[in-house]
């Protein structure tokens, strides 16, 4: 049985790279502490593959033919896509892919009734993949990555229950279809509250963010699925906050585990609340806190 050895959720706001240097010291401290801890945990986990779920941000497909989940099957993932480079302000990177695991994932999810799409060509990555890859040193670690870009913003959006079900199928795939000695890392990339392109572009819902971080770290998935509705996420920042659904996929895969946050910060220029959670894959919570 393959094992999930790392699971985390973290934001990917572009300002975390291009605008970090100019941010106040206390903001920088939370950002660097969060991503350094995640980078260390990934390295310690000695994972054979990292599967990253992240909002596609309408980067790869037209609005009238929009996949809910798009798997990157390339042997090599290069980013960021040309137009996003000055916006993110980051260097080019190349991360090894895993076409074999990506293909197995596509087939495994299909067999489990989960419609995904997959593409052999390099996907167009913006901040969704670029920020976590660079801030957690995935590019330098040599760990192969399978990116899965998901629909968090084009109605109808797969809601928290659907994303959790996708995560449960993912967990089943990992444990039953992958080689028994394989070590798998999972990252949900996105959030916290933000409203990109909206009239409240600079709005950050600090109360929502702190509530969400505590809930995500609690391991209480029943409460999370009851309360983390699309309506609540839209109220906390339309078109952006719902990318926390990438975290929900990861939670569905790992089941109820306690997590640890490395602080929370807001900075107007980031236009996004910042904080991550690393879940303890060695812990087991009482079964009643998980969702059957």
């Amino acid at each position: 049985m393959a094992e999930i050895v790392f699971a985390a959720g973290a934001p990917h706001a572009p300002g975390l790279i291009g605008l970090l240097e100019a941010a106040p010291a206390d903001v920088k401290d939370v950002v660097t502490t969060t991503y350094r801890n995640l980078a260390d945990a990934i390295a310690l986990a000695k994972a054979d593959v990292l599967i990253v779920f992240a909002n596609d941000h309408l980067a790869n497909s037209r609005v009238r033919a929009y996949p809910d989940f798009l798997i990157g099957m390339a042997a090599e993932h290069r980013g960021p896509f040309e137009w996003f480079k000055p916006w993110i302000g980051c260097e080019d990177y190349t991360v090894k892919g895993s076409p074999e695991i990506a293909a197995a994932l596509f087939n495994g999810m299909t067999r489990r009734g989960i419609r995904m799409f997959a593409q052999n060509e390099n996907l167009k990555f913006d901040d969704n993949i670029s920020v976590p890859v660079l801030l957690t040193n995935i590019a330098g670690s040599g760990i192969p990555m399978v990116p899965i870009l998901q629909n968090c913003t084009v109605p109808p959006i797969p809601d928290q229950h659907r994303c959790y079900a996708v995560g449960k199928a993912l967990g089943d795939f990992i444990r039953n279809d992958l080689p028994s000695d394989m070590r798998v890392a999972l990252l949900g990339s996105g959030g916290l509250s933000h409203e990109p392109g909206g009239a409240r572009y600079y709005f950050i819902d600090e109360a929502f963010d702190r509530w969400f971080l505590d809930l995500a770290a609690s391991g209480d998935h029943e409460r999370l699925l009851n309360e983390l509705t699309l309506e609540k996420m839209e109220a906390a920042g339309s078109g952006g906050t719902a990318e926390l659904l990438a975290w929900v996929v990861v939670l569905g895969a790992i089941g109820s585990k306690p997590g640890k946050s490395f602080g929370y910060t807001v900075h107007k220029d980031f236009k996004c609340g910042i904080g991550g959670v690393l879940w303890d894959m060695n812990a087991n919570l009482p079964k009643q806190r998980a969702v059957a």
Binding site: P14, G15, G18, L19, A22, H57, L58, A59, R62, V63, R64, E82, W83, P86, W87, I88, G89, K124, T153, V154, P155, E195, P196, G197, G198, A199, Y201, Y202, E234, S238, G239, G240, D269, K271
Partner: protein, 102 residues
């Protein structure tokens, strides 16, 4: 102002995607915007709103806000902390009631 007005049939969605994906089209748009707009089946009010940089009107028609933010960057600037900040401020100014920010 969220996703409730989203109208995926609007041709501006394709225009924005194509501009993002093609350096050559961006250069052509900068040099001769009208000739690029001619190639898309835009509604008259949709085209007028594009030409007058009226994001508020475009959102009322159903432009997806995420692409609206990117369209503002395509027009006003895309560089972190510089043109992108101008773009965000122009967009917000339009959406908060000003309408045209040409």
């Amino acid at each position: 102002m969220g996703l409730e007005k989203f109208n995926p049939a609007l041709a501006i969605h394709d225009l924005i995607q194509d501009l993002k994906w093609s350096v050559a089209l961006r250069e052509e748009f900068a040099a001769s915007e009208a000739s690029v707009l001619d190639r898309y089946p835009l509604r008259a009010d949709e085209r007028h709103a594009i030409e007058t940089r009226n994001f508020l009107a475009l959102y009322d028609m159903g432009l997806h806000p995420y692409l609206g933010g990117q369209f503002a960057r395509l027009i006003f600037g895309n560089e972190a902390g510089k043109g992108a900040t101008i773009a965000v401020n122009k967009l917000v100014e339009s959406l908060q009631g000003k309408g045209s920010v040409a």
